[in-house]
């Protein structure tokens, strides 16, 4: 029987209360959101917090997807299911629905949250890649105030984030542009399994050229953001050949390992194909004439 090691339990009924508990308990405490990452880690003793601060009661306070000027604001306790079903995201940031269709399974999606997924910071996890591709910002709060961290600064490598012991992620902000779209492509062997490889792409077009781009490569090393692919795209006219070139640059720079899901060479090849497809689909959604 797998059960977590013993711990003390607190239940927070407001963000304020959760922050007070974190300030008091420090590094000994972990926030429990949906639980589908943390509880398995605790069962395996990969995580052994002395205190669990259960933020399940914050599901309503931190569960929302709203358009706010030039951004979409997503509450950290928004579930995978709500992200999947959000028409706002499907229209303005379709990469979310693409990815959510393939994340875990429908039952897990009922409880798992975006804040939990991002704070787990698993380089094989899809929402970290989605937020990286979109250049999202994470709002992190403590009793002392708020910080807004770009995904680049939030993600510090596998299972590490910039969130301090007394802070919690409360909101994700997805920037919006009139001429931008996005897509996600993933290979997994069966429902609920981790990706063999996956790729997310976001494109912003201004005056016929790529003004901004975000490429995230998943399960192919500790770096999720692909700088090589992004740099290959910036300032150039969207074209199928360019997408393939950028995807190849990203694939060449990533660092997959051989494991039970495939060889390093296979994953490198696959992630390149997926990145090119994701770029193509993002362009298609912008109704771009792609040469």
């Amino acid at each position: 029987m797998q059960v977590p090691a013993p711990f003390e339990y607190e239940r927070a009924t407001s963000v304020e209360e959760a922050l007070k508990l974190l300030a008091e308990l420090g590094a000994d405490a972990r926030l429990l959101a949906g639980g589908y990452s943390l509880l398995p880690m605790m069962k395996l003793r990969l995580a052994t917090p002395k205190w669990i601060v259960d933020i399940d009661p914050l599901a309503a306070e931190l569960g929302y997807v709203e358009e706010d000027g030039d951004a979409i604001r997503i509450g950290a306790m928004t579930t995978h299911r709500d992200l999947l079903e959000s028409e706002l995201l499907a229209g303005r940031a379709p990469i979310f629905r693409d990815a959510e269709r393939e994340i875990a399974d429908p039952v897990v999606r009922n409880r798992g949250t975006i804040g939990g997924a991002l704070c787990q910071a698993d380089p094989s996890e899809d929402l970290s890649a989605v937020c990286t591709a979109l250049g999202a910002e994470i709002v992190v709060r403590s009793l002392a105030g708020e910080r807004v961290l770009h995904m680049e600064d939030f993600y510090r490598g596998p299972y590490q984030t910039a969130v301090a012991d007394d802070e919690m992620a409360v909101e994700i902000r997805v920037p919006l542009h009139d001429r931008s779209s996005s897509a996600y492509e993933k290979i997994n062997r069966r429902v609920g399994d981790w990706a063999v490889a996956a790729a997310g792409a976001a494109l912003t077009i201004e005056d016929g050229v790529i003004a901004d781009a975000g490429i995230a490569l998943v399960a192919v090393g500790s770096e999720v953001a692909s700088t090589a692919a992004r740099e290959a795209l910036l300032g150039r006219e969207p074209a199928e050949a360019l997408f393939e070139e950028a995807a190849a640059a990203g694939a060449a720079a990533c660092t997959p390992i051989t494991d039970q899901r495939g060889t390093a060479a296979y994953k490198r090849h696959a992630v390149g194909v997926l990145a090119a497809r994701a770029l193509g689909r993002a362009a298609e959604r912008l109704a771009l004439e792609v040469a």
Binding site: M1, V3, F7, Y9, P40, K43, R111, G192
Partner: protein, 161 residues
């Protein structure tokens, strides 16, 4: 710690360790062994119960967390000796062989049928997607889908008020 969990419409108060998982609370503390305990890793779905009407894997929910929700287990499907149409469907269409996955499958089916205004409009693909987080190791998926379809076509008759 003391927790009070509402299961099948009744509050149950017990003294538990904070680390007690909902599946063990139901089985060991309340004796509701209809909820099965399978893989322990939130993969197999044998332990699925409804939390506020939505399926959840009870091996990956603390009993303490469940205290804020209404839990429905397979024991709560039958009411006053009348089987839920889902239970009837699993009987009619041979939806189980060994029975290990059945409780979880039936609860997910109940939630699926409750989530749409007209369950007869559900496609096989939608039914399959709904149960895709649950494993039947007898591989009886075809009959499970037929059982859920049967329930969709035989809704519970409204009781006169």
């Amino acid at each position: 710690m003391q927790v009070t969990v509402n299961v099948n419409g009744r509050d149950h108060t017990r003294e538990v360790e904070p680390r007690t998982l909902l599946v063990h609370f139901l089985r060991d503390d309340l004796g509701l062994t209809g909820t099965h305990w399978g893989c322990d890793t939130s993969n197999c779905g044998a332990c699925v119960v409804l939390m506020d009407g939505e399926p959840a894997k009870s091996c990956t929910v603390l009993a303490a967390t469940a205290a804020g929700h209404e839990i429905r287990t397979v024991e709560g499907l039958e009411v006053d000796g009348v089987l839920d149409p889902v239970q009837q469907g699993f009987t009619e269409e041979h939806g189980l062989q060994c029975g290990f996955c059945t409780a979880g499958m039936m609860l997910t089916a109940r939630a699926l049928l409750d989530s749409v205004p007209d369950p007869t409009s559900l496609t096989d693909a939608e039914i399959r997607d709904a149960i895709s987080g649950q494993i039947c190791r007898c591989t009886g998926y075809a009959t499970i889908v037929r059982s859920i379809r049967w329930a969709a076509e035989h809704p519970k008759e409204e009781q006169p008020a």
